[in-house]
């Protein structure tokens, strides 16, 4: 199978308020991407661009307004419509490891509960064996973990523990929503390296959701850049980040502070004054800040075209596409 997850034209519109005064908020707008087995796919963008909503729909936490999600060829159902438990094959890791676990419960109870819920082991002995295997995979041991409360671990350790818990069901896909942004700087890379190791040794795919392009570059194979509910650029990470095509990706790439005092930012950056105007904009939503804006950008929504095996949604590249072969990359 060449595609583990295929997301097609996924749209989510939240509505607020009553029938009389209703506000519609679009969270994702016709988002399409796929993830191959044993691949780390990064979904990057600013806060409010819809990356977390996309992940929640894949997990079945939200019902898509339209569009489909296929997991190994079968449709992913909205959790509330399903009779059984959630899928074993897709597991999630969240941003703040201190909020993942209840501070008043010992962390091992989460593990035994998962084992019970999915009937992963026949006896206590088997369960402990399974749990210590998974803990070893993330670099911890059962002895240093059993019977302890979340407050007895550091943030980095807790994040490892939540990864180990997610691995219990032998998932094929981990959805990691900003997994390192709350982890101490000196431990961050150890978590990032862990994802790479899981991919290489256990063939687990990872949907890595982040705003940190530097770690995304380091660990992922392919990347999609989201801007205001759309994917604006997608392709192999090397191509997208080392040679960005979309003006927004270029701006993002330039704005990442590099740890090199010889290469400081030069030139001023234009920020949006009033953000909601960008969401409501007709045509390309980046037009208000784009340095290469053209007349048609303000009125027409750009098409998705492939340039150099990278998908770009920008009028600058309209008409220059090589082929519209979606299987290129």
């Amino acid at each position: 199978m060449d595609k583990l997850i295929e997301v097609d034209q996924l749209t989510k519109v939240f509505t607020l308020g009553s029938i009389i005064s209703r506000i519609r908020i679009t969270a994702t707008d016709h988002v399409s991407f796929y993830i191959k087995p044993a691949e780390i796919f990064a979904l990057a963008g600013e806060s409010g661009c819809g990356k977390t909503t996309a992940a929640r729909m894949i997990l079945g936490f939200e019902e898509p307004t339209s569009g489909t999600i296929l997991h190994e060829g079968r449709a992913v159902e909205y959790a509330k419509n399903k009779k059984g438990r959630g899928t074993q094959d897709i597991q999630a890791i969240f941003q703040d490891p201190f909020k993942t676990f209840n501070p008043l419960r010992t962390v091992d109870r989460y593990f035994f509960e998962t084992v019970q819920n999915y009937k992963l082991a026949g006896s206590d002995g088997e369960a402990i064996k399974l749990i210590s295997d998974k803990l070893n995979a993330v670099g911890l041991s059962y002895e240093e973990f059993a019977g302890k409360y979340p407050s007895e671990f550091s943030g980095g350790q807790l994040q490892r523990i939540s990864i180990a818990r997610a691995l219990l069901t032998n998932p094929t896909l981990l959805i990691a929503d900003e997994p390192v942004s709350m982890v101490d700087a000196s431990l961050r890379m150890s978590i990032v390296n862990l994802f790479k190791k899981l991919k290489e040794e256990f063939n687990v795919s990872v949907l890595y959701i982040t705003h940190d392009l530097a770690t995304a570059y380091y660990m992922s194979d392919r990347i999609a850049i989201m801007f205001r509910v759309n994917i604006v650029e997608m392709g192999p990470v090397e191509r997208v980040l080392m040679d960005p095509k979309h003006p927004y990706t270029k701006l993002l790439r330039e704005s990442i502070p590099e740890a090199d005092p010889k290469r400081r930012w030069s030139g001023a950056v234009k920020l949006s004054d009033v953000e909601y105007e960008e969401y409501l904009r007709q045509g390309c939503r980046f037009a208000g800040r784009c340095p290469q804006v053209m007349e048609r950008c303000r009125g027409e929504i750009p098409d998705e075209v492939y340039v150099d095996q990278v998908l770009v949604k920008c009028h600058l590249y309209s008409g220059t596409e090589e082929t519209l072969d979606r299987k290129v990359s």
Binding site: G156, Q157, L187, L252, S255, P257, P261, L271
Partner: protein, 343 residues
């Protein structure tokens, strides 16, 4: 490197006295947990010399005492935080004053006019039920005498225009603005009375990269315009590299290394600093990066000797027994490590 001049006897190149100076500053949280006294050694013998007209960066991971150090520098020590020793001096024109000897009223007068503090998460410090212009007017009328509200509004509008923020913001409520815009408004507010020192605690954390860049740009702009000093605390080494003139690395309540930004990034001497800098992913370089092993110690229960010795790749016997002092190894490079002394 000349070995004989090692023990801190380097000639001081910058003869100008520092604008803010600390001597053996110690501030601990003293907590009473079920009748047992617990001491959190958040700031432990810190000596700083911060010069006029520089951006002084302080970096370190969460829980290393950065924010507590800033509180002490600002003279805002309140229980359970206690001053256990040491002093903080400000240099005001003509004299040097000891902050902890000042009365509450004297401190109040120094604040905002001499030293301004931009707290962490400052997007949530603005009053949510008043328009920004009222916040500005209150601020001006409590520190500048003899101004009517109309005058105050004019000052505020002029100030916003100077810093390139849209004037219509003054008519907005805080919740109508994005996090990055609120952060910039708070920074602009702190700069209103042209303070000589501005303290910023994690001003770019929790903001998107493009907005981060805007905030750093604003801070740099203010610093150049006023020619003042900014003390910038952030764990983001990329931001430090971009704006700071000198960087201090803090670990377990102590400054363990301090140098010019070029030195810190080009020639880090402390093993912790090296881990911190080498573990940063870089574009165009996918070679494997490793983090420091282990995890940071609890400030309530520090290991003996050097607090980093449990995680250090080349620990010496001395490291387990004694805390290395922060000594100069070059004219503008101080490091607290026994290994640096061996070298």
């Amino acid at each position: 490197m000349v070995k004989t001049t090692f023990m801190g006897e380097w000639p001081i190149l910058n003869t100008e006295p520092p604008i803010l100076r600390t001597e053996g500053l110690k501030a601990f949280y003293v907590l009473d947990v079920h009748g047992v006294q617990k001491v959190v050694k958040a700031v432990n013998e810190v000596d700083l010399n911060i010069r006029e007209n520089e951006v002084y960066g302080i970096a370190g991971e969460s829980g290393c005492g950065k924010t507590t150090l800033l509180k002490a520098l600002y003279g805002a020590i309140e229980p359970p935080l206690r001053l256990m020793g040491g002093t903080v001096y400000y240099r005001v024109p003509g004299e040097e004053i000891d902050v902890f000897m000042l009365s509450a009223e004297e401190k109040r007068r120094l604040r905002w006019e001499y030293i301004a503090y931009i707290p962490q998460g400052s997007m949530s410090v603005l009053n949510p039920v008043t328009k920004l212009k009222e916040t500005y007017q209150d601020f001006i009328s409590s520190h500048v005498t003899g101004k009517t509200r109309a005058d105050a509004f004019k000052i505020a509008a002029g100030h916003m225009a100077e810093l390139g923020l849209p004037r219509k913001l003054l008519d907005a409520y805080p919740h109508q603005l994005s996090g990055g815009m609120r952060q910039r408004v708070t920074i602009a507010l702190a700069a209103l009375l042209k303070p000589r020192i501005m303290i910023a605690d994690e001003p770019t954390t929790a903001l998107d990269v493009v907005v981060q860049r805007g905030v750093v740009q604003l801070l740099r702009d203010i610093q150049q315009r006023l020619g003042n000093t900014i003390i910038l605390v952030t764990h983001d080494m990329g931001v430090q590299a971009n704006i700071a003139d000198r960087v201090a690395i803090m670990y377990a309540g102590k400054i363990i290394e301090e140098a010019t930004t070029e030195e810190i990034f080009g020639n880090p001497l402390h093993p912790y600093t090296r881990y911190l800098i080498q573990s940063l992913p870089k574009f165009g370089d996918k070679t494997a990066r490793t983090s420091a092993p282990g995890s940071p110690p609890s400030l309530m229960d520090l290991p003996s000797g050097c607090p980093f010795h449990l995680r250090c790749p080349d620990t010496l016997e001395t490291c387990i027994e004694q805390m290395p002092p922060l000594v100069a190894v070059a004219s503008s490079h101080r490091v607290a490590c026994w290994l640096a002394r061996e070298r």
